[in-house]
């Protein structure tokens, strides 16, 4: 079957790549992680990216997903936490229904069906229940992330055969069967199913299939593949050896990059790109291509740096290595000898160039600025909230602007953002927050509201001095070094990564576990793939708090044999 072949090919390839991280990861046996009480079971709506990744993995990467999806819900800074509250409005469900029908039509199109279908119907114009069942049960297992129950198989095959009878076309009928799988809540929601943990009295854990899903969405930002589902089915996933084996296989897979991309796109709040706009008169170099490429630049830089090169997470703030397209070269003012507009070339900014690290890429400088000017406040706030996991209070609603306004309009003697913001720091209602966020943002004032380097603002020299938690600097590079060396930077990524994985912020009782992860992160030279491995191979990641875990494993599921805790 085509979809199986795709998965097997991917798996075979996976063993040939990522050698740089595999050696380190295979040697990862040491002290066990502390246990934890666990978080409540969740039911997460698939994010747009997860939906797209699953369709590509199950049906092929060239399937066109034509249509719009409503924006994902973000909560506490993460879509993965928002997903635990998201549902479907009528308008959004209508779009998913249309997407599902479009995908099914494409999958079963005449030119493609042979590579997908595991069987050929006896007649293209009549019902062939056996063949329909083969297709539905195989696709259903991958889409539902577990085998279909007998009742479900009967239902979806019944829909396909009834549709075939109605429209007189086997493939058209099968389209409805496939599409119905993709509108089902079993596909659209990732529902945690829990069971008693036999190794700890009174404790609850995810059942094997939910465990496979949590593992897979965390490492690949997609659904489990055939091998992972098989490991859930035969009980391997409930042994530490089996879990390790799957984790290592998955971390060596090229799909790990999808997982790392998925996390960083969420962590860095790249949904903001969907509404990024710049004034074309003020920033004529900005275009939709620049916006699209800016997002991809950072995700590519991050995944290559962390996964392919096995880099230290903290060095992402100072590394001069990146990837550029022609469109980005225009903004960054460097030649990019790419042969096409879509070609990406590695590029390393000179050591003395002020552009180095994530904060100097357009995905930061342009995203955290106004359509027509830079904003040290927005940039500083993003550093505090997104990258350092600190809370910044919302601004007061009744600020008296009369002391600032004379400096804000055209013709004012005040030329720079620093001078303007200095006024804000004189108002006690504003000063606290501005002092907390502005000093970092002011160090990036050499980048205008798009991210083009400038030395002057309105004819006045830019002073790029600033401070982060007592560390003073006077350039973007100084800020980058301070960020790299701040213990908050690495602590934040640990916390966010864990929250991303479990769909909830860690609680008070998780402090010891987070401390363990932070210590290990340091020992592992701040390797993010290693950190991900630590998380997924610890039973704590699958623990569900008993107080919120009424949902015993679905009784309607097929019984699954398990091999409990071999270790």
């Amino acid at each position: 079957m085509g979809l199986m072949a795709t998965n097997k090919n991917a798996i075979r390839k996976s063993f040939l790549v990522a050698a740089t991280i595999s050696v380190a990861l295979l040697a990862g046996c040491d002290s066990p992680a502390p246990t934890r009480e666990g978080a409540p079971a969740t039911m997460r709506r698939l994010t747009q990216e997860q939906y797209k990744n699953i369709i590509a993995d199950v049906f092929g990467p060239d399937i066109n997903i034509a249509g719009r999806m409503d924006p994902d819900l973000r909560k506490d800074g993460l879509l993965q936490i928002g997903a635990t509250e998201a549902t479907f409005t009528p308008g959004n469900l209508e779009q998913y229904d249309a997407l599902a029908r479009g995908i099914a039509t494409e999958v079963l199109a005449e030119k493609r069906r042979a590579s997908f279908m595991p069987c050929t119907p006896a007649s293209a114009t009549a019902v062939d229940e056996a063949c329909a069942k083969e297709v539905i049960t195989e696709a259903g297992r991958l889409l539902f992330r577990r085998p279909l129950t007998a009742k479900e198989a009967e239902l979806y095959v019944g829909l396909a055969t009834a549709a075939t009878e109605k429209v007189g076309d086997f493939y058209k009928g099968l389209e409805f069967g496939l599409a119905s799988l993709m509108v089902s809540p079993n596909f659209l929601f990732q529902k945690d199913m829990v069971e008693a943990d036999p190794s700890v009295k009174g404790a609850m854990r995810l059942d094997a299939y939910s465990k496979a899903s949590r593992l897979s969405f965390f490492l690949w930002n997609s659904a489990p593949d055939d091998m992972l589902l098989a490991a859930a089915e035969n009980g391997d996933l409930n042994s530490s050896e089996g879990l390790d084996k799957q984790a290592q296989r998955m971390i060596k897979s090229p799909r790990l990059k999808n997982g790392v991309r998925g996390f960083f796109a969420d962590f860095l709040q790249f949904t903001l790109f969907e509404s990024l706009a710049k004034d074309p008169v003020i920033y004529p170099k900005f275009s939709q291509s620049v916006s699209d490429d800016a997002k991809e630049q950072t995700l590519r830089t991050v995944t290559e740096f962390l996964v392919t090169d096995g880099g230290d997470y903290r060095d992402l703030f100072t590394s001069h290595k990146t990837y550029l397209t022609r469109a980005l070269g225009v903004v960054y003012q460097v030649p990019v000898p790419a042969s096409t507009d879509s070609e990406w070339l590695p590029y390393e900014f000179p050591k003395d160039d002020m552009r180095g690290g994530l904060l100097t890429q357009l995905s930061f400088t342009a995203l955290y600025a106004h359509p027509g000017r830079s904003s040290p406040t927005l940039r500083g706030k993003a550093i505090r909230e997104v990258m350092l996991c600190q809370a910044v209070p919302i601004p007061p609603v009744n600020v008296d602007f009369t002391s600032f306004e004379a400096d804000s309009h055209e013709g004012s003697p005040v030329k720079t953002a620093r001078e303007r913001l200095a006024k804000h720091s004189t108002d006690p209602a504003c000063a606290g927050c501005h002092k907390f966020v502005d000093p970092m943002g002011l160090a990036l004032e050499n980048f205008d509201g798009l991210g083009v380097v400038r030395m002057k603002e309105n004819g006045a020299d830019i002073d790029a001095s600033g401070e982060l938690d007592g560390v003073k600097f006077n350039s973007p590079a100084g800020l980058a070094a301070a960020m790299r060396n701040s213990p908050r930077t690495s602590a934040c990524i640990v916390k966010k990564l864990f929250a991303y994985g479990q769909g909830a912020n860690p609680g008070k009782s998780d402090e010891e576990y987070l401390k363990y992860l932070q210590t290990k992160f340091e020992q592992d030279k701040y390797s993010v793939p290693q950190l991900m491995r630590r998380i997924v191979t610890s039973e704590a990641f699958y623990r569900v708090s008993p107080s919120e875990a009424p949902a015993q494993a679905n009784a309607s599921r097929e019984p699954v044999s398990t091999k409990e805790n071999k270790s």
Partner: protein, 442 residues
């Protein structure tokens, strides 16, 4: 694939297209107030919203009651002032809760409740309350669109986590309504696709599995699934309606495709897209595709901007000094004028479509409002509100109602009652009211 370059004749250039299908007088009864079969002409409800309020000295009419004057910021609605009601001086009461800038006022107006904690919408918004009663027999329960091009600019919500999304471009709005699944009610041919029946049975089957899916869920997740299954039911109903031959509608015609425009918040681009969307929405109403809509002209923290300007409308409200002579913020007032001009365009578009003895606007109630009064201070007293149209004669128009500090929920309650929602009290805490505004009820 549709030709995205085809121009929507008569929409880009001016008034909406109203011709195209010859209409027989036998469609209507003798006095033009109802369809010939006795069914009343449909009444519609929609909201039209803009961000960052207005300048009270330039927006609030001096004269109360009928025949109000037109201050500078209301020039945009002058042509239709006899069909427009203006509400000034009504207040959002916070009961000690934090004023969350641009969130609190709009939530108070739309839900009757001010946000608590991290929540925005503690109660459903008024468009949904009305849609639940009157929007159940059309292809779409509601249509939501944003001229800013941002799907996140949508203020129709069941709760803080169940917020609809806006259709962000004229082309997407067109395709949603007048794409392949549109059935022209005036077409002599009615051939429902056999796949509609199959799709209905697919949705029905999913619904039937509800217990299997939800039995293991906690209360909060069950509520989320309730929303999912409600959406399934609505989609199913939508398909069922497409299996029935639609009644002919004189005022309905399928518009041409809109010319694709880059989405954006530069005022001219937003206005252009808004005009296209207004025309498509008007056709959707005339063709009875929906009875409820939400049209966002600008977001609450208004991202509108002048071409070449470094500042947004929202930023300007905070940064622009009061003009020494005029004693108001000149640029901020200019933005408010643009918003009101566009509201005028929206109303004129609806009014350009004849329907029954009047126009489509006459059979509609458009509720327009902002989120604050004086944006710099995020004032919750006197947030601007207006209505356009008379809801099929149910509402008196051309009236300026002065609230004198009474709660905004009086307006929302009145509108719901005019739309036949069975409610006699609305609002939370000190916003609760059972007092409607009798002077506008016909």
């Amino acid at each position: 694939m549709m030709n995205r370059r085809k121009v929507l004749r008569g929409v880009v250039g001016g008034a909406a297209v109203t011709v195209g299908v010859p209409f027989l007088d036998c469609f209507l009864n003798s006095n033009g107030t109802a369809l010939a079969d006795g069914a009343a002409l449909p009444v519609r409800f929609g909201t039209w919203t803009w961000g960052c309020g207005m300048t009270a000295s330039r927006w609030v009419p001096n004269k109360a009651g009928a025949g109000y004057d037109i201050p500078p910021e209301l020039k945009g609605i002058e042509k239709l002032k006899n069909k427009v009601n203006v509400f000034s001086g009504f207040s959002v009461k916070t009961d000690g809760r934090e004023n969350k800038g641009h969130v609190t006022g709009q939530a108070g107006i739309r839900t009757g409740a001010v946000p608590s904690g991290a929540s925005i919408y503690d109660k459903p918004t008024i468009d949904l309350l009305i849609g639940d009663v009157m929007g159940t027999d059309t292809r779409f329960r509601s249509l939501d669109a944003a001229a800013t091009g941002n799907p996140g600019h949508c203020y129709s919500a069941r709760s803080t986590s169940v917020i609809s999304a806006s259709i962000p471009t004229p082309m997407a709005l067109y395709e949603r309504i007048f794409g392949a699944e549109f059935q022209d009610p005036n077409s002599g041919v009615f051939k429902p696709s056999p796949s509609l029946m199959v799709r209905t049975s697919v949705l029905s089957a999913i619904k039937d599995q509800r217990d299997d899916f939800t039995k293991t869920l906690g209360a909060a997740d069950k509520a989320r699934m309730e929303q999912y299954y409600t959406s399934i039911r609505q989609l199913e109903q939508q398909l069922s309606l497409q299996l029935e031959k639609p009644a002919p509608l004189k005022s309905c015609s399928k518009p041409g495709l809109p010319e694709e425009m880059p989405a954006g918040t530069e005022v001219n681009a937003t206005s252009f897209n808004h005009k296209l969307m207004a025309a498509i929405m008007a056709h959707a109403l005339a063709c009875n595709q929906t009875k409820v809509f939400n049209m966002v002209f600008s977001d609450w923290t208004s991202s509108l901007r002048r071409k070449g300007s470094a500042e947004t409308h929202h930023g300007t409200t905070h940064d622009e000094p009061l003009d020494a002579k005029a004693n108001y913020q000149l640029e901020v007032s200019w933005f408010a004028e643009q918003c009101m001009n566009n509201f005028g365009v929206f109303l004129e578009t609806l009014d350009s479509i004849p329907e029954g003895a009047g126009t489509l606007l006459d059979n509609t109630l458009v509720f327009a409002h902002s989120d604050v009064q004086f944006a710099r201070a995020h004032t919750l007293d006197g947030i601007p509100m207006m209505t356009g149209g008379s809801a099929g004669g149910r509402m008196k128009t051309g009236i300026h109602t002065v609230g004198n500090g009474e709660v905004v929920t009086r307006v929302g309650l009145t509108l719901q009652q005019l739309m036949k929602v069975p409610v006699d009290k609305w609002g939370t805490g000190s916003m609760a009211t059972s007092k409607s505004i009798s002077e506008i009820v016909a």
